[in-house]
Symmetry: C2
Subunit: 168 residues, 2 copies
Amino acid sequence: MPAIGTDALVQAAVRLQAACLERGLTVALGESCTGGLVAHAITQVAGSSRYFLGGVVSYADSAKMTLLRVPEELIDRHGAVSAEVAGAMASGVRRRFGADLAASITGIAGPDGGTADKSVGLTFIGLAHDRQVSTRRFEWGGDRSANIEASAAAAIEWLIESAEAVQA
Amino acid sequence: MPAIGTDALVQAAVRLQAACLERGLTVALGESCTGGLVAHAITQVAGSSRYFLGGVVSYADSAKMTLLRVPEELIDRHGAVSAEVAGAMASGVRRRFGADLAASITGIAGPDGGTADKSVGLTFIGLAHDRQVSTRRFEWGGDRSANIEASAAAAIEWLIESAEAVQA
């Protein structure tokens, strides 16, 4: 198994940290398929405790429900890998941590877990800021590591974009 | 910044997965200084969702209190980097996720955060299993990345040791 190319992620995390500290914004994360990689990249940067409150790695559906307060019926109806659940994860984790910005990631990293409807690589990212929750849909084409990395990068880039949209 | 040497961690995670699946054990994590690296290593392995329930990256003290139910007075009295808090994090996260085994990590990765009492590299790991909670103390001597990696490796090794102690 090759080592994860965290360099680019850590460089993005440096930019996120600068954007957040400049504006006094705090960040929290709800990670499913990325399994902690986004939090890991963020906390590789010294001083990250000044804006990063923490995150939940909600691998089991039960964790999504109890820790992030994602309604069970949302998971039953749309599946854990869905825009609806990504949005609920983002707003749930934002409230849990009392953060300004929160990102969530839920997807099928592979090699298992794909279905007729939802193939390996399908990923939803959620972004909660104040009362607004947005989601984005991606279809990655890589192997497990590449899919996880691509999802992590997309989440950090969206956090940077959202932070920079806030007046400094 | 060099890429994290996750290879050894992922290899340890493969052994942890085998030990847990063989015994039907589930695992949860409460990570502070390791910031999600242990969860990331575990979820790099395909099939990890069959035993890994998830984790909390409790970077802020407030997250340790609200998500892991670590009593505030424990943090006030002993500091967030202490055996007492490591133990409370492990038992808190075990209950939160309803896991068989839970590990916690709290330490000073550096370069900032060291004090006269507690120097950079000081780390406590907690392990909760049934009603028993144990803690171990480490003093790493590396830089931030090396300290984070050493803590993550120690946590995974202790989880393996604890899983293998359970009758298969």
